[in-house]
């Protein structure tokens, strides 16, 4: 299932300020690259030893390619961004538990925020039933056209109002009176918490994709835990974002 591969870089270009698209060629990764799963990218510069977890944005079975979208936020992603076509990169994948496609009754709401938007694309491609997509960005929206290919409706909000609705994604949902019976979301923690609260209020089932700093990426080191509700006995327990997640049921997560 999980393998360490040397994948060759087909493309690695800036698609928005500070946002890069990387296309990797790898049969193995494509086979296991379900929506919501992620891969570990190794920088291999001698100095940065830990892998960078990046979600799978899209897989292409024909081309055997994996599409990743990442933001340059620190030294590791900076080094990724200067890698060139035809170079090889060490990748471990596919990792984690993805979204459970088909859990609802066919009325899907998909909510993405910022760099949490890309992991939802393959999901929207694979979801069945109706799909309403709400995307929020600080400025420069990305992937909107891609989502439009697969979704019934795609609504965009930007905080600076440069495109679409001016405001955050929750306000956008309110404006459009979002409805459905299953919700999927990925984005910054405050947004996810607000989405979870909204879903609870509206009694909608949902799945959220979380982020945490990681080391192994496969569940062995316990650095990436998040608080989750325990079924019996104790009030809460730690689960591993890398192995038990990154996708969790919305009622599982305890917001610290």
């Amino acid at each position: 299932m999980k393998t360490m591969v040397k994948a060759s870089i087909i493309k690695n270009l800036e698609i928005a300020p500070g946002i890069y698209e990387m296309i990797l060629l790898s049969k193995e990764l494509v086979e296991t690259g379900f929506p919501g799963k992620f891969v570990n990218l190794y920088i291999e510069d001698g100095q940065h030893l830990l892998p960078r977890p990046i979600s799978i944005c899209e897989t292409d079975k024909n081309q055997q390619t994996l599409r990743l979208i990442y933001a340059v936020i620190g030294k590791g992603t900076k080094k990724l961004s200067i890698m060139k076509e035809k170079e090889e990169i060490k990748v471990l994948g596919s990792l984690g538990n993805g979204f459970s496609v088909g859990r609802g009754n066919g009325k899907n709401i998909v909510i993405g925020g910022g760099i949490g938007v890309p992991p939802l694309l393959e999901l929207v491609k694979q979801l069945e039933g109706s799909k309403t997509v709400y995307l929020g960005f600080r400025c420069n929206p990305i992937l909107v056209e891609d989502f439009k290919k697969y979704a019934d409706e795609v609504y965009v909000a930007t905080e600076d109002g440069s495109e679409g609705y001016k405001g955050n994604v929750l306000e956008l949902m309110e404006q459009h009176q979002a409805k459905g019976d299953m919700l999927y979301s990925c984005g910054p923690k405050p947004m996810l918490k607000a989405v979870a609260d909204w879903a609870k209020e509206n009694n909608i089932d949902g799945e959220l994709s979380l982020e945490e700093r990681m080391a192994c990426g496969i569940g062995a080191c316990l650095v990436c835990t998040c608080k989750t509700a325990e079924k019996e006995g104790e009030d809460w327990e730690y689960k591993r974002v890398c192995k038990d997640g990154p996708v969790f049921s919305r009622d599982e997560v305890i917001w610290g």
Binding site: M4, L49, A215, C221
Partner: protein, 303 residues
């Protein structure tokens, strides 16, 4: 050419080779079992187990540093009962030795885990004395020679398996602590645990770790680890399991030459899930290259 034998014997236990996993970096072997054949390892040393479940520290629990990493997992574990139920049966499927690392906040807690495990199919117990001693004001058992000797002696009463005492490197004189563990009845010593360190996110102006400080591991610490193994090997008679920054077979050989009988691979697993096997093969390669037949030909044998 005859294939070299990497077999070793530590405190009466036979290991097929000196390659072990460093506690806390390999879970109970399940996850890395997808990448390596656990049957090939000398031993699986499992993550720290305490008498009751510990929740560990808040996240973030990891920070990357130059050639290393800091962790502040805080010994999260489901407690010894859960461990015995789930992990021992899993590990018994494999032809490898099982070493259980145990943790406690009081001497009584350590003893309770040791006693509970004494009747289980566990080959050795590794006493992690880097835990804070809550009864004595949080000072770590491993940084005070009297406490180190005392906890070793007490735990020894409750364990039936050979007892490894795992030393903390955050001390002025590692030899003093090693001798204390020896005096307390340790059968084996393992070293080093992590060096206490800290990293700051200068953009957020906050420590990276929620716990502020954490344990430094990885290749960055190897020179400190090799030094301590060398010093301890020259001061006590007990066999030593060496660790700290081992990435390659060559690193492992350094520890063996410094005097270690076995070695453990920790942080390297995170970079390379097959690190244990790569280290093993690298060690075999070295033995072959120089025509050594057995580990004892090189153990502690600096010219």
């Amino acid at each position: 050419m005859i294939k070299p034998s990497l077999k070793i014997n530590i405190a009466g236990v036979e290991f097929k080779n000196p390659v072990m996993t460093a506690s806390g970096t390999f879970g109970s072997g399940r996850e890395y079992g997808e990448f390596v054949d656990l049957n090939k390892l000398g031993a699986v040393v499992v993550k720290g187990v305490s008498s009751v479940a510990w929740k560990g520290n808040p996240t973030p629990r990891v920070a990357e540093t130059y050639g290393g990493m800091l962790n502040s997992v805080g010994l999260q574990n489901p407690g010894v009962e859960e461990f015995v139920k789930k992990d021992i049966p899993f590990l018994k499927q494999y032809d490898t030795k099982i070493i259980v690392n145990i943790a406690g906040k009081t001497v009584e807690e350590y003893c309770a885990v040791a006693e509970r495990l004494s009747s289980e199919a566990v080959d050795m117990i590794e006493l992690n004395i880097s835990c804070p001693n809550v009864k004595e004001g949080g000072v770590c058992f491993g940084t005070d020679s009297q406490m180190a000797e005392y906890v070793t002696r007490e735990v020894k009463k409750y364990t039936k398996q050979p007892l490894i005492v795992k030393l903390s490197p955050n001390v002025t004189d590692i030899v003093e602590i090693a001798k204390a563990a020896e005096a307390g009845g340790a059968d084996v010593l393992s070293l080093i645990n992590t060096l206490t360190g800290m990293a700051i996110d200068i953009h957020k102006r906050k420590p990276v770790l929620a716990n502020i400080v954490g344990g430094l591991s990885g290749p960055a610490i190897k020179p400190v680890a090799v030094r301590m193994v060398y010093q301890v090997a020259h001061a006590v008679k007990l066999p030593i399991i060496g660790m700290g920054g081992i990435m390659l077979g060559e690193d492992a050989i350094e520890f063996i030459l410094a005097g270690a009988t076995a070695i453990a691979v920790g942080t390297a697993n995170f970079m390379n899930p097959r690190a244990t096997i790569d280290v093993l093969e690298g060690m075999e390669g070295y033995m072959k290259q120089y025509g050594y037949q057995e580990m004892k030909e090189i153990r502690g044998k600096l010219l």
